[in-house]
Symmetry: C2
C-alpha cells in the first residue's frame, strides 16, 4: 500500500477569481492568509525574496474528474496524448498545484503575491522561497505543444475578449 499522508492547510488564497479559467493569470493579485495554527513569524524574511513557490490544493476538482492516464492536453486533438505527469493540468492524482509567484509584500499574517493561478478559497499547503540554486540546472527543453498551450496563460486579457 502506498503511504497515506494527512496534511493541514497552512493558508488560504484570497483572489478576485472565483471560477477556474484557463488563461490570463499574469496580472492577478492575491493574498495568502496564514491559518491560525501558525505564527505570523513563519513568514518573516519572505519579503527579501522576489519570488516564492506556492503549493496548493485544487479543492474544487471532484474525485471522479481525476485523470490517471494519458490524454490530449485540454482535450485538444492537435496536441499529442501524454500522461497526466507530463502535464500540469489540475485533474491530477493528488490535485496538487504548484506555481511560482512574484512577492509583492508581507503584512502581518498575509503575503501579497502576483500571478497565482488559484481561485478564491484555495487551501495553501506550502510556501517556499525561490532560490537561484534551486532553478533548473542545465538547459530547459520542452516539446512544441507546450508553447501553444501556454500562449495566453499569463497574458493580460484583451479588452472585449
Amino acid at each position: 500500500m502506498p503511504a497515506e499522508i494527512h496534511l493541514q492547510a497552512i493558508g488560504v488564497v484570497h483572489s478576485p477569481r472565483q471560477v477556474a479559467e484557463d488563461d490570463h493569470w499574469g496580472p492577478v493579485l492575491s493574498e495568502i492568509r496564514l491559518e491560525s495554527w501558525l505564527p505570523e513569524e513563519s513568514l518573516y524574511g519572505l519579503e527579501d525574496f522576489s519570488h516564492a513557490e506556492i503549493i496548493f490544493f485544487f479543492h474544487q476538482v471532484p474525485e471522479e474528474k481525476i485523470e490517471t492516464a494519458a490524454r490530449h492536453p485540454r482535450n485538444n486533438p492537435a496536441w499529442p496524448r501524454v500522461g497526466i505527469f507530463a502535464q500540469r493540468s489540475k485533474n491530477r492524482p493528488t490535485r496538487l498545484g504548484l506555481t511560482t509567484v512574484r512577492i509583492l509584500r508581507r503584512a502581518g499574517r498575509s503575503l501579497f503575491v502576483q500571478g497565482l493561478d488559484a481561485i478564491d478559497g484555495t487551501p495553501v499547503l506550502d510556501i517556499k522561497p525561490v532560490m537561484q540554486e534551486f532553478q533548473p540546472r542545465g538547459e530547459v527543453r520542452q516539446p512544441g505543444w507546450v508553447s501553444d498551450l501556454m500562449r495566453d496563460y499569463w497574458e493580460k486579457k484583451e479588452a472585449g475578449a
Copy 2:
C-alpha cells in the same frame, strides 16, 4: 478550521542515499517508481522534457521536529533569523519537499532522474514537467545568506571529504 487534506503517494524514491545529508546532492541518481494504483501511461511523454519538479514528503521528520516560527537556517547564528516559509528546510509544517530534477529516461513504471535530494523510500506526491512558461517571470532576487547556505548543496563531494 483549516482544510484537512488526505493524499496517497503516487510513487516512491529509490536512491543510493539512505540518510539525510545537507550537501552534495547534484550527482545523485534516483529512480521514481510509480505506485500500483497508477497506470504506466501516466508517465508518457515526460521523456520529451529535460526537467521535472518532484513534490515529495519528508517522511522521516517526526512531528515534534516541525518548526513553525523563525530561526537561523541550519542553526547558524551567522545567518539571520527567518520564518520557516522563507527557508526550504525539511522541518516545515507540511513536510513537503520540492526539487527540480533532470530527467534521464523513462522506462516502464519508472522515471530515472538526477539531482533529487530525497532519501531512499521517500513517498512522492506529484511529478510535474518543467515548462519555460512556469519559470519565474522577472529577475530573481534573494538575500545574501542563501548563496552561503547553498554553496555545497549540489556540488560533488570532494575525495576524502
